[in-house]
């Protein structure tokens, strides 16, 4: 592995961590959503700094080409994140739906109350001598 690719790996992993950390700091991403990305970034940085770790783990689980382990872990992380997003999206859709129902129910109720209040007001005005 050349020095260039070694540096490239570290810089990439560092960039991922920096972006996620910055989003967290500015409250653009909540911790629960950032967790997976932080895990991925830390793993990437670890492997970038100590490529031997990747080799060792690949040997341990019996993967001949260490790069394949990288791909496997990357895809696994991406998969888990998108499943999590699907689940959260469903929850959000359901909340939106419930809010829409409530807003419609309130609208109808306000309208009826206004009608009652309006006609009562008119009756009072009309009834007054």
């Amino acid at each position: 592995m050349s020095v260039t690719s070694y540096v490239f790996g570290i810089v990439s992993a560092g960039l991922v961590l920096a972006i996620v950390a910055d989003l967290l700091r500015r409250r653009r991403v909540r911790e629960r959503h950032a967790l997976w990305w932080l895990v991925a970034g830390v793993l990437a940085l670890l492997v970038a700094v100590f490529p031997g770790v990747l080799q060792a783990v690949a040997d341990l689980v019996g993967i001949d080409v260490p790069t394949n382990l990288t791909f496997f872990v990357s895809i696994a992380v991406l998969f888990l994140v998108s499943v999590q997003h699907s689940a959260e999206l469903t929850v959000l859709e359901d909340k939106t739906r419930t809010l829409a129902e409530h807003s419609a129910l309130q609208d109808e109720r306000i309208e009826r109350l206004e009608q009652v209040a309006g006609s009562a007001g008119r009756a009072r005005r009309d009834g007054a001598p």
Binding site: R97, A100, E101, A104, D107, E108
Partner: protein, 245 residues
Amino acid sequence: MVDLGQALIVMPAYNEEVAVGDVVREVLRKLPGVSVLVVNDGSRDATAAVARRAGARVLDLPFNLGVGGAMRAGFKYARAEGFSYVVQVDSDGQHDPDGVPAVLSALEDHDVSIGARFAGQGEYEARGPRRWAMVVLATVVGRIARTRLTDTTSGFRGAGPRAIAIFADHYPAEYLGDTVESLVLAARAGCRITQVPVAMRPRAGGTPSHAPVKAAVYLGRACLALVIALWRPPLVLRTEEQVPA
């Protein structure tokens, strides 16, 4: 006979300004004392205004939720306003209001009653794969509900107090969920389901598709909806939600 003052006719409506006014007027004329709620499902036309002028109460959803979502809002309304019976009627005039009393009287000793299209009345017909899909669904759902059903995808149906208690919170919003899944949900929660024959009229606008590919997709999605409905943990009908007879 069920007191019509206790009944709420719920009509989900999406861009139905042409038909909804006449349908509301017809229902109010044929069923004196009944309340009509049009759930405007995010229409971009004058559906809400037309329905209001015709004498209906209107729930104006801020965006389109689909028939299931609109019905859930309707059930919530019924629960909040203390109606004991809800009858869903299409806003396009396909359901004849003359069928409503039959659907309502079936609710005297059942929780859900379906206005079934193939049960002898009217000339509603579906052919080919779509028909088979409907037969399969009806057979399976009928087994689950322990009663003979012939038409589970009918949108003409009534719900009694126990069913309203469930549907107000749990009416399924997914495609086909509003028909097939809602029945499975109700049956598994211990609701008694029955069907009554009703006549259907041709749709005022638009024609249902009978293309084989669409029918196959329909069957696939219906079966998926069924499998998911059966897979979900059943809801428990709490005893305090039962209304004393």
